[in-house]
């Protein structure tokens, strides 16, 4: 590509376009001569990897990084993702050789510290939620959902009951119905009330002997606490079902709400949201899943147990004394993520975690209150840790939620989550988290008020043109999907 860099507006070719054949950024010794044991299966053709020196590689990725924003560089109020500060002590500790350079199949006697660390992380999560059991292996939120639904399915099989219908609110994240379908359930959507919460009467009407349970995000995706949650849980239990709580929004209530007292049977926790492990451009995450006593026997393996000889792993059903639903992931879970989450929990402590939730909720309510004059809140507050607006304030302006988001980029912010949840029109879901200063929130409020006024003042064309202060203008997603180019070819 013939684009030219200008100052900090960097153009960076693909790594494949920087090939100096034969160059190598790693000096390796010449392999000793041996008679190979490949049985004639040697790879013959060139693979096609480009050759570069170490400085060229370092420059390439450094320049790529400069085309990104992260929490480190901007306010990133991406609703439902909890983009909070990622402490660097967590990174430092995860790299200790005693935690990073250990193998999952070392004899238990040589990894007592690692097993204790998993157990300790589990202890914190169980104590915070008040739940008696936990499955540590799920790799992310959706995987935790899958784990929870799998335990429900296993418990129902154990009860010899054929219940295949799962109730899921229309406002749920797309992973909820997708996870339910992957467990062989059929998804029955339940509507929301005008208050943005589960329609209790409508839900009760859908309960029956074929209902396996309810998947409910709480606080919900509209940023609200389900204030009838005790009645909801009781109705589900009375009908013989289980209550799955999607813990994506757990950051709002850590240390302030005892999950066990909400009637929850199972809830996943996104360590990469609530417990500050880095989102890494799309993972890795971790989704440990807390379980009630009723579902605990069906938790997947492995499990860490402790006895008079120390810590050990239970890796097979026959050794477990329970009825595990199987194995959901290779090895023992996202250990490196556990290290970071535990370092964070220890840093914050019981008092700090409670303060964090309080500040996250306070900050979201501050946005809701201060933006209400120019934007249109979808529901009356108080909200929890997210403030939800819809696009009524943009009516007849010619500006869409997408345009508004792109204009926010030019104001120096990462946009909020757009068009989710689906239950309000043109949703703008903002999650400030507890790690932003009031000064940042005030600048954000001023910017958004200004944008809203500009939109109402007939400046649609400038919104359509946004963003302009970015390495690329708006990208043609339709063309990308119509003629997919998914890899480099020579």
């Amino acid at each position: 590509m013939a684009e030219t860099s200008r100052g900090l507006m960097l153009e960076e070719p693909l790594i494949f376009e920087q090939d100096s054949p034969g160059l190598c950024g790693v000096d390796l010794p010449e392999p000793p001569l041996v008679i190979d044991r490949l049985g004639g299966l040697e790879r013959q053709e060139a693979i096609g990897l480009p050759g570069l020196s170490e400085p060229a590689v370092v420059r390439h990725y450094t320049r790529l990084s400069q085309k990104n924003v992260g929490i480190d560089s901007v306010f990133y109020p991406l609703g439902s993702c909890t983009m909070k500060h990622n402490p660097r002590i967590n990174e430092k500790l995860a790299r200790l050789p005693g935690l990073a350079d250990i193998h999952p199949f070392q004899p238990a006697s040589t990894v007592q510290g690692a097993l204790e660390l998993i157990d300790l992380t589990a202890h914190w999560l169980k104590t915070l939620t008040g739940m008696p059991a936990i499955a540590m292996s799920p790799a992310a939120g959706a995987h935790g959902e899958f784990c929870g639904l799998m335990t429900i399915r296993a418990a129902l099989e154990d009860r010899r009951e054929k219940r295949l219908r799962i109730l899921v609110p229309e406002s749920a994240h797309g992973t909820n119905p997708a996870s339910a379908a992957a467990c062989g359930f059929t998804v029955d959507p339940i509507p929301a009330t005008a208050r943005g919460r589960v329609d209790l009467a409508a839900m009760k009407a859908k309960l029956g002997g074929d209902v396996a349970g309810l998947m409910l995000t709480n606080p919900n995706t509209c940023g609200l606490f389900e204030d009838e949650i005790l009645e909801i849980a009781e109705a589900v239990h009375q009908a013989g079902g289980y209550f799955y709580c999607d813990g994506a929004n757990y950051n709002a209530i850590v240390g302030r709400v005892r999950v066990a007292d909400l009637g929850v049977d199972v809830m996943h926790i996104n360590l990469h949201k609530t417990f500050s492990t880095p989102h890494g451009g799309g993972g890795p995450g971790a989704g440990p899943t807390v379980l009630s006593a009723a579902l605990a026997p069906f938790a997947p393996l492995p499990a860490v147990v402790h006895d008079d000889r120390g810590f050990r792993l239970v890796e097979h059903a026959a050794q477990s004394g329970a009825k595990p639903c199987g194995r959901l992931k290779g090895y023992h879970g996202q250990f490196g993520v556990f290290v970071r989450a535990l370092a964070y929990m220890m840093s914050m402590g019981a008092d700090g975690l409670r303060q964090a939730s309080s500040d996250a909720v306070l900050s979201a309510n501050y946005l809701l209150a201060e933006l209400a004059s120019e934007l249109t809140p979808s529901f009356a507050g108080p909200c929890m840790h997210e403030a939800l607006f819809d696009d009524r304030f943009l009516k007849d302006t010619g500006v869409t939620t997408l345009d508004f988001a792109k204009a926010m980029i030019d104001e120096g912010f990462h946009p909020m989550t757009m068009y989710f949840p689906l239950v309000v029109h043109g949703a703008l879901l903002m999650e400030p988290t507890e790690t932003e200063s009031k000064d940042t929130l005030d600048r954000f409020i001023a910017s958004l008020r200004g944008l809203a006024r500009r939109a109402k003042g007939g400046a649609a064309a400038s919104f359509k043109a946004a963003p302009v202060h970015t390495p690329r203008r708006r990208l043609d997603e339709t063309a990308a999907a119509r003629t997919p180019v998914l890899r480099w070819r020579r």
């Binding site: 590689v57 250990i102 992310a140 302030r256 799309g282 290779g330 402590g349 043609d476």
Partner: protein, 447 residues
């Protein structure tokens, strides 16, 4: 509390702006019985020094691989990671960003994922690869489910030489999907007959290369048999460094290739996080799970990258999506792609040859020992040996001598007494000849 920037004055001003007296008023929707009025019974906040002290103490209770002669593999491999890899993935613009939903401010993530997809496609010899899955095991389950969608069939045949965790994760994940997962018994000698078990309802055969027990296989004939029967061949690669030396799955006509990418650029970290690689043929791309990055142009006609073909995914299709996956392994993919870029064609080839040469050296040092019988006639960097006594006990005895001497197969297959004496041993570029001699000496004492 160093991560919380609000001052008490800020909080009061914000509460006043909201129009409430205290923060408790914001939690009024929480039913009273579920509220906590005081912090839970856990330690209070701690400074960096205290946290570092506590976790360092835990780390010191582990024997790290660098402190012992080390020969463990079985799907997680210890390789040297160049310092530049870790320095670059810790750049905040990469580390603290999320899924590139807003492409104009995420071109860095999108471009490296496009490069990653291209590298994975080249390595596996396939047309197209996605932007990563959780790990090799979950990727295998996803591949089997995808093969059933493509063929509209339900029978999945898992080789006995497939990693036991890939087998159990696949069986678990699909147990309620109405599909029929048939896992053949563990196959240390390569004697199973896969072709003979392909039936009219077989959606796919899943094999691993190099096999879990080390053996290399040419799957070309198996692929032909699958295709003749209308089934797909899924190939798993648990050690992708092998692709620098061993014939690629794409060159054996595989239809879907899954792999564990940890061994390129990522630490072992007690087995997680891993990096699931997933590649297939162009014609199946719309049945693929996971995120895909595609090339396009911006409003000024300049080349750029976006997430694409998202109508396969849960946020659009909900219960009809090809997978429920959302967050995947972005940062591990970045480490993989940087390491591979540093190596380049020449370095990657040499790394693979070094691994193989070290494993051959190890086999040659161990094979003459009394009681040791090499089970794998072909292998890449890991092989199985049969011992005259319990391999689990041998490994414990080696550990007492400070040697991390492989993985006893009984750890995976406790109900197969005939495998009690089988030990898996791996060598990589990090394995020094002195370590091999230490293992041989220790084995001589233990056997």
């Amino acid at each position: 509390m160093r991560y919380l920037p609000l001052t008490e004055a800020d909080r009061q001003a914000m509460l006043a702006a909201i129009g409430v007296v205290g923060v408790d008023d914001l939690f009024k929707d929480v039913p009273v019985p579920a509220r906590r009025d005081a912090p839970v019974d856990l330690p209070f906040h701690a400074g960096e020094m205290a946290v570092e002290h506590r976790l360092t103490a835990l780390a010191q209770k582990n024997l790290s691989a660098g402190c012992a002669p080390f020969f463990i593999g079985a799907g997680v491999y210890r390789h040297h990671i160049p310092a530049a890899v870790d320095a670059l993935i810790q750049r905040g613009e990469f580390l603290t960003s999320y899924t590139p939903y807003q492409p104009e401010v995420s071109q860095g993530t999108l471009q490296y994922l496009f490069e990653f997809q291209s590298q994975v496609a080249l390595l596996t010899g396939m047309d197209v690869a996605n932007a990563s899955m959780y790990d090799g095991a979950t990727a295998t389950a996803e591949a089997a489910a995808m093969a059933c969608r493509v063929t509209k069939r339900a029978h999945i045949l898992l080789s006995g030489d497939l990693h036991p965790h890939y087998r159990s994760v696949t069986a678990t994940a699909l147990q309620y999907s109405g599909l029929d997962v048939e896992a053949l018994p563990p196959d240390p000698l390569g004697s199973e007959d896969l072709i003979g078990r392909i039936g009219p309802d077989t959606a796919c055969v899943v094999v691993q290369n190099p096999g879990f027990f080390g053996r290399l296989r040419d799957a070309t004939a198996l692929a032909a048999a699958c295709h003749a029967a209308g089934a797909l061949l899924v190939m798993a690669v648990a050690e992708p460094v092998s692709l620098g030396l061993v014939k690629a799955p794409g060159d054996m006509d595989a239809d879907i290739v899954v792999a564990e990418g940890q061994s390129i650029g990522n630490p072992m970290a007690f087995g997680g996080p891993g990096l699931g690689l997933f590649a297939t043929r162009d014609k199946y791309v719309r049945q693929m799970p996971g995120r895909l990055v595609g090339q396009t142009v911006d409003g000024d006609g300049r080349r750029g990258w976006v997430l694409t073909l998202s109508t396969r995914e849960q946020h659009i299709r909900r219960e009809k999506a090809t997978s429920n996956i959302c967050t995947n392994s972005g940062l591990c993919a970045l480490a993989f792609t940087i390491h591979l870029s540093l190596l380049g064609e020449a370095g990657f080839r040499r790394l693979a040859r070094l691994n193989h040469a070290h494993a051959v050296m190890l086999a040659e040092k161990l094979a003459p020992l009394k009681g040791v019988r090499l089970l794998s006639q072909t292998f890449f960097n890991e092989f199985a040996v049969a011992l005259p006594k319990s391999a689990a006990e041998v490994v414990e005895a080696l550990a007492r001598r400070g040697v991390l001497g492989g993985v006893p197969v009984s750890r995976f297959y406790p109900s197969y007494p005939e495998l009690d004496g089988v030990l898996l041993l791996a060598a990589t570029e990090t394995t020094a000849e002195a370590d091999m001699d230490a293992l041989a000496d220790a084995l001589r004492e233990v056997l």
